[in-house]
């Protein structure tokens, strides 16, 4: 089975990684041991444009699901990102300070934003979208944007 679900519209191909969960803003969360890694989806980075700067809240910041934990400035927009989970930020991707474009080049890998410690991840995960659910959500958004 492929690692990604793939949707092509016009000249754009969007991928959804199968190994993580998503909120409606296109922020993904993936458990790695006791920590949860967080970043943005391929659809998010392609539709929002080249990232100029990414700022994540400081290590030690406690964030509730839905609260803003990061801001991304692209050539089109300034976007506040809502956290997909409750937890404390235990690491931020420092590489983004010099290479914010990693978010565009590798949104599911080197372009990760933050790492969280979360005590209720399994319960919160069940409130997020599965890859298949996000795939359908993304397709609807892509089509809506295409109609504009």
């Amino acid at each position: 089975m492929s690692e990604h679900l793939t949707f092509t519209q016009d000249k754009f191909t969007f991928q959804v990684a199968r190994d993580r969960h998503y909120n409606t803003a296109g922020v993904w969360a993936k458990a790695e041991g006791e920590r949860v890694l967080v970043g943005v989806s391929d659809f998010f980075q392609q539709s929002k444009g080249d990232v100029a700067f990414a700022e994540v809240s400081e290590v030690g910041t406690a964030v509730a699901a839905g609260e803003v934990f990061a801001n991304i400035e692209t050539i089109k927009l300034d976007i506040d990102l809502p956290s997909p989970l409750n937890g404390k930020i235990v690491a931020v991707n420092e590489a983004l300070e010099l290479e914010a474009e990693l978010i565009n080049h590798d949104p599911y890998g080197a372009g990760w934003l933050a790492e969280f410690a979360s005590s209720d991840w399994p319960a919160v995960r069940d409130k997020l979208m599965t890859p298949q659910q996000y795939f359908e959500h993304m397709k609807n958004e892509a089509r809506a944007q295409g109609d504009q």
Partner: protein, 137 residues
Amino acid sequence: MNDTDKVIIIPCSGIGKTYGTVSREAAYEVIEELRPLNTQLVPLSKLVLGDEAARTAVTGKQVITIDGCSLSCATKMVEESDGRVNCQFAVLDAYRRHRQMKPRGISELNEGGLQLAHALAVEVAAAIDELQEEENA
């Protein structure tokens, strides 16, 4: 200066894009004010359309592109037109170097956009000087 010795400047053609406008404003400042005697602007749209004069202009001459975004259309079109890019600039990279100059607006740039276009134009002018020094060495 003979036309054949002029450095060719090709900015982004993105209409309705802030960074495209910054790219063009920078190119205009270089060509009209900073280095009017030793530069020539070639519109990217002419290269896209396969205009023969535009293709001839980028072939065998020193070329500087000013791309608006990572699609790098200006650079790619020069290469597809059998030209060689001597120096490539990108508005996004310039903004990362000058974060206080946040560009906004499209047909009319805000103050940050105008400042960024100027900063970029100065960098392009310096690159032109370097290219011509190398050529004359």
